[in-house]
């Protein structure tokens, strides 16, 4: 990561941490939909600074709450999922996002019953649905960016 990528890294960390800590919770069944997960697909555009930024953002959001030590492992699991999105970007960002949903949902399905006593089946489908909603919203935003905003800027840059 170069020094000039520091801004991207911080902005992604801030988006995750601030949206999780500062915005009202969106409850879906037994699981809070994390708004900070929405930018996941943008890892395909912004690369490793976004991966590290979202992971740090998740870590900061975790220390804001009195959570179980096992929940502090979530940033590491999320990091693995984000790496998959990053490396999958060359053939399919959507496939990367689906992999991210599966990885993080499996982890949440395991963790939520331990941390909050949620019944395992409720934890599983609420985590899967919650993560899917957040990531798909982000993926739609990613598609808009890739198809409409980025080509326009590239054209302008080429003209100049």
């Amino acid at each position: 990561m170069k020094l000039e990528d520091f801004g991207t890294f911080v902005i992604f960390a801030a988006i995750y941490a601030a949206s999780t800590l500062g915005l009202p919770k969106v409850l879906f069944l037994a699981y809070h939909i994390e708004i900070g997960v929405i930018p996941t697909a943008f890892v395909a555009i912004f690369g490793m600074p976004a991966v590290f930024g979202l992971t740090l953002g998740q870590f900061i959001a975790s220390i804001g709450f009195e959570v179980s030590p096992i929940a502090m492992l979530s940033p590491a699991i999320s990091f693995v999922g984000l790496l998959v999105v990053y490396f999958a970007r060359k053939f399919s960002t959507l496939a990367g996002c689906v992999a991210y949903i599966i990885i993080t949902s499996l982890w949440l399905s395991y963790m939520l019953p331990i941390v909050s006593g949620t019944p395992p089946n409720v934890a599983a489908y609420s985590a899967f649905a919650g993560q899917s909603i957040a990531v798909i919203i982000g993926y739609l935003g990613y598609l808009v960016a890739v198809r409409k905003i980025l080509p326009r800027n590239t054209e302008t840059a080429l003209k100049q």
Binding site: L3, E4, V10, A13, A14, I15, F65
Partner: protein
């Protein structure tokens, strides 16, 4: 004076071999030890002598250096546009990395202190600590995110030669940045202290709250001053697509201050709710 000037290929004068940075660092150490003695009430004479010695060193530096200020200021406005001389040093990434590392040590120590104190308590925040209203903190977070995005956008515009957009973005960042300390030192702190909601004397949480947010607020102020300086240079046309090292250095510092704030927001406001 102990300094030597060298001229590079570009005609830029780099002042090297100065003894003053080392002396000022030494004086800072003396001041810290001296104040420690004075505040603890032990070895008062030694404390007084140490603080006096550091004051003398600083006075010596100011005396020797102020003589150069007038010529430096007069040259400042004459730096031509679109030359590599314009915004030297063009590549100051090593400098800003060193600055960030020292800041990391400072804040690492401060947060280490916070966690060391926190470990002493079975319950944190200690009983009797008020639940802080985080409305202003949320606004401050929004301000920092907006300013970070805006300055990145401004640099992006500068790299593409869109100087008007760059200047607008940079000034917008400065205005947003200035709002942060206004909210902190002008609204939130007076509200908490004058209404006796939370003061440094309330408990350990209050003491660490003011220490950490105070150190951070001071850094934000420095960032705003740096942006003000950058704005002036931008207005003088001293930046170009090939010449923006100082702007990037300022923005890197700003992003660092931003990320420290995220930790503070998580620990001080959200952490006071549990």
């Amino acid at each position: 004076m102990g300094t030597a000037a060298e001229t590079s290929r570009d005609g830029v004068h780099y002042y090297e071999h100065s003894i003053w940075p080392a002396l000022i660092a030494f004086a800072t150490g003396l001041t810290a030890v001296g104040f420690f003695f004075l505040m603890k009430g032990v070895m008062l004479v030694a404390g007084f002598l140490l603080v006096s010695a550091s004051a003398l060193i600083l006075a010596g530096f100011l005396y020797s250096d102020t003589r150069n200020w007038s010529s430096a200021l007069s040259k400042f406005g004459k730096i031509p546009r679109d030359t590599l001389v314009g915004a030297f040093p063009v590549d100051i990434s090593l400098t800003i990395q060193i600055i960030i590392m020292t800041e990391l040590l400072l804040f690492g120590g401060a947060f280490g202190m916070y966690f060391a104190i926190r470990e002493q308590f079975a319950l944190w925040p200690p009983p009797g600590t008020p639940i802080l209203d985080d409305t202003i903190a949320r606004v401050q977070t929004l301000i920092l995110i907006s300013s970070s995005i805006l300055v990145e956008w401004a640099i992006w515009q500068l790299k593409r030669g869109r100087l008007k957009a760059f200047k607008a973005g940079l000034i917008g960042t400065t205005i947003l940045g200035a709002l942060f300390p206004i909210l902190q030192f002008g609204v939130e702190w007076p509200h908490l202290i004058l209404n006796n909601i939370l003061t440094p004397a309330t408990n350990f949480f209050g003491a660490t709250f003011y220490l950490l947010t105070g150190i951070h607020g001071a850094h934000v102020l420095v960032g705003v001053i740096a942006y003000g300086y950058t704005d002036i240079r931008a207005m003088m046309g001293q930046y170009s697509p090939k010449n923006h090292g100082f702007v990037e250095a300022t923005s890197t510092y700003w992003h660092f201050v931003h990320i420290i704030w995220l930790f503070l927001f998580a620990l001080m406001w959200q952490g006071s709710r549990v």
